[in-house]
Symmetry: D3
Subunit: 256 residues, 6 copies
């Protein structure tokens, strides 16, 4: 069935900004590659890093220092270049604030990958980085509401940077954690719980009896879906544009 041209005017031009919340550029590139791989041919995903913030997010401290930079990447879209945004850290840092400063769809890769996982199995496990991140990851699961479907969060000894730079060792550690999730926790789907793991889903899936979800990919295709549906974030209450007020000590752009 033909789609009326004016209804889906985005179709010529869909452009999504994938924000890598940390300042490690190799990871940003990887995020862009993965997101473009999974989205449609005529969708362009532009991956960016904020000007400021930690080089990786492994603690609540890192998380909170990253958020102003993430917000800035949305505030920069003054010419309405983008149709949607993907918050590309498993933990969806500052996602609520992102939704306040734009009414274009903003998808977090944690929520996105969990929704996808929840449609593919009766439950899922998240395999992720250092043990200290467990609470951070579990909060993301709970905030999305899918804690009842989460079989486990399995941590490894990997730092974020290692997931990106030592691919073989990372794949090995993740494979081991995934097997534990499948065998001990009865997991039916694996979510890769870090944006640095982009591209590892297929090699892991080849060695596991369960689907493995690339979280950046999942977030990107769901952002595409929201644009296709033509929907915008609700501005009736929680995600209403913040009241204009003085913001001390931040660059001009933060002044709404």
């Amino acid at each position: 069935m033909a789609v009326p041209a004016d209804f889906l005017s985005w179709r010529e031009t869909m452009k999504i900004k994938a924000i890598n919340p940390n300042t490690t550029l190799e990871m940003t590139e990887n995020i862009g590659a993965v997101a473009n791989e999974y989205t449609a041919d005529d969708t362009e995903v532009v991956a960016v890093s904020p000007d400021r913030g930690p080089i990786s997010i492994e603690s609540y401290y890192d998380d909170y220092l990253a958020v102003p930079g993430i917000l800035d990447e949305i505030l920069k879209d003054e010419d309405d270049e983008f149709d949607a945004f993907v918050n590309s850290c498993w933990g969806d840092p500052g996602l609520d604030a992102c939704r306040e400063v734009t009414d274009k769809p903003v998808v977090g890769i944690a929520e996105g990958s969990m929704y996808v996982a929840n449609m593919l199995g009766a439950n899922f496990s998240v395999v992720t980085i250092l043990p200290r991140a467990r609470d951070f990851i579990e909060e993301a699961v709970r905030k999305t509401g899918l804690d009842g479907h989460c079989a486990s969060v399995r941590c490894t000894d990997l730092t974020v940077v290692e997931t990106e730079n030592t691919r073989d060792a990372a794949a090995k550690a993740l494979l081991e954690a995934s097997w534990e999730a499948v065998e001990e926790d009865d997991a039916e789907v694996i979510c890769l719980g870090c944006a640095g793991m982009g591209g590892l889903d297929e090699p892991l899936e080849a060695e596991l009896p369960v689907p493995v979800i690339d979280s950046v990919g999942a977030g990107a295709v769901l952002a595409e879906s929201l644009v296709q549906l033509g929907k915008r974030t609700s501005t009736v209450r929680t995600y209403k544009r913040p009241e204009s007020k003085e913001i001390v000590g931040y660059p001009e752009r933060y002044q709404l």
Copy 2:
């Protein structure tokens, strides 16, 4: 970024079967029209009704009598014509069983519309048909795991058939229920809780301060997303193909 042709071989041919679980053909047509409207140009959605089942689903009784027909529509796909299925009744009847008889993605419109809603607002309400369906609807919400984000289920006096046949009256009743959800229950997004309401999202959204989700549209674009991701349902345990066994009194095709 270019997508390697062999990776996304579906792109030439993506074909989704949207199953209207009841046997009212006008509704089937509407489902097809809406699903095709929201999915990509090069995606073809074929809407079907089962050979058997009630003309509408308004009770658990209707729901259970519809499921064998839904399953049959998946079992019919012997030549692998389709890439994914959409279970098009808000209540996702028999969704678990659907996932057992195929490993192609199967998306329910209840779950699909709730995921979409959950990315657009801090909570959502479902506006739907007769009061007797409340428990049925709430079970679907709870099964998906999003009960903590559901502000309310608001029933009307509409039957399923009326949602389809008396569009103006239906729109009026849904508008009223939606306003109650927004004002009394603090809802930030409205899910239209019946496949017969397809196409009413835009007129309703024009009169409400919140996004209104067409559930068939949401289910269809999420099915597209799962195909894009190249993922299949987990067959490791819950959704493993059912053990072959004698099925008494059902047509040949049900014999796995």
Copy 3:
């Protein structure tokens, strides 16, 4: 204290239909024997199998294909022969729909056995068939509301038919799973999670330090209790008789 004759007119004639949702007659016989053993002398339990459906219920697919036959067994009661019905599969398939088509009490053996267990210990475990049934079983627990009291669901390698036909092997596997529940999960009561396990409660209890609940027995005595109380299912909303409508492709009796 004497009970006024007219109040409890059922007492002369209490007759309960125990519906084995599958079509394996040996299991039907066993269900009848167990139910009659536990109910009062002047209660007659008639065990039946539907005309159609799978020979055992081990998957959601089986479950859904069994429900129309279960409903038929209730619809057949046109002369008001029975006082109550027992849905005799641990999973309580289609229980909500059963309650719509009659206002006589309908008790599921899953809910019945859990209520009994919950009155005998601080928690309970369910020992049951194949691992694939875990999700199915957990849904039944959750639907009843007793997930907070369920210490664990312990699956075995038993098929339904094996629970019936290879009693010694079944008893051995269940004993092992029960010990694991008691020792590792701190279970205080065991529910036998399949109607095919009828009659195994006493031999198992003889070897375990905890009560073991025969689920069919529990369901049958609770059905008796509801009849004694003279109560009928609420028809005010959820379990109101379904709206009369065309049901395509089903035998005449399904047309309400």
Copy 4:
């Protein structure tokens, strides 16, 4: 089907002690009458009041002062006269302790009436005494695990003694609260939340569109059921007999 005589040796002699936890004898008599009405002809229910305790239970204070007397009524059963006990206050005071001092079944009327209600409707409301009891009642609901099925707790201005002594006024207040539960909270079944309301279920049910559960009746028939099943309370851990130790300032009988 005939039941082997030795299996159900209780049948000649089933004798249940219904303990009214307060010291108001009119209420004790009413409890006995109701319990005998609903249980089988050959079951004898003996209703008793403890030697000590408040004349009614309306606060946590009353509740805790009543428990030693309740326990005493179980400890008194030194000649094994009874087959089961019914704790007849909606709130099930000291129920866990009761289960420690005997392994014969002990049923609370709160839990019993909720199980019955949960088999008759998709949810239930409790209509009860003074507003101060709401927390007490809600704790009983939550402890049983059925809070997810409880539509509401509706308090009245009735004291316990008034439910017993001013029957017409009590019936009127309960009718009003019940209608509010049905219309505003969508309740499908009403539990009468006080043992003093025994006998009001039928007049109320005559004026309401939903079943009304007499909680004493429900508790008594469930106690009967547990005896029929031949089950005893689990003594493996939580309900093991308390360690023998010095109990200062209590009568001899409390010394285990």
Copy 5:
């Protein structure tokens, strides 16, 4: 900043009664020592034992027989000597009733230690006495609302009296249970789940990588805090003074 003398008139005279709910005087002394150690110099904690009750609380039976004595210790405060009360058994026996008979702050050591733990780590475990107490302890956790933050309850083979009398063996068993909590359950804080363990927090903390909370200390300082805030228990509904009524078989003082 100076505090106006009249505002904090309690400061000259703050006096807290710590009620050891059992009748073992060595434990009472220990409770007093610990509570005085942690509270301010000018706060006096008086530790008492009731006249009646079990010598230790290890079962629900013990718990319920202890409560009348606890209440008596509050009722005895006729001359308004005390500013607050500490209910010093991990399980907070009869805490709701205590709050009904006085509007001065009453703090339970279970709730107090959990609040403290929840401010020091992302979760906590409770290490405690005999396995039979697990349900009792878990109820206290759940009643306070912090079950979502409780990593585990780890029982030992210690009786209450042993925690007091065989300090070395008790410390050893608790250390082992604590290590299991830290390593297997990912606990970040340990609550010592029995008043008899007072004084063991520091030696245990010296050997563990996590904070160890002395529950009596935590309860006492929180009682102090409530007095400092000048707040009294809410008497609007649940904790309103119980209706005056005849209390049969209890000493005069219980008659409100």
Copy 6:
């Protein structure tokens, strides 16, 4: 009982930093005054505002832009001047991150006031600022774990600055919202859900039948309590000091 001088060396010098997360100095002063009023004579509370951040926190955006400044106020404590910190915004912004950068106790006023409320009534309501903050407030409640005890969150039309600057109007709006909470939601305690409301607890309490909690006061006395107990934040996992790494675009002090 005398407290050994070396054990409580803090007593001479207890010094608490109360961080007002916004940059409105009048509010900082008020926070200091209230905190000093409720804490002990020999405790000094120093109230500060960060160098950067919004002038009030009313949205997630404000919240996230405030956190780096809050963290800075803790990082500034290089000479170990303070014994504890109070995060003085109802919403506890960045509390987890605060606990990572110091192991001295950090108390949030949301959690602190809820713990206090939970010891004074069977439930509590939060009365607070603009409707858009509801989700923010509910998240704080849920994160603490006390959602089961929260009767309601009642929003007003007050901005944060208005709570501070237009005291009479603020008191009036809060009184009205509190009455609604008490009468419609059965609230037994009121938490004032904004640091700007400091000092309004007593006038409000004078007109209401329930205790009213000043959240800053509650947070400050609980911080004092944790210091008295001599406890430090657990550094075993979640609140371990963040890994040292490059932090781009932040002042030197943020580099751990």
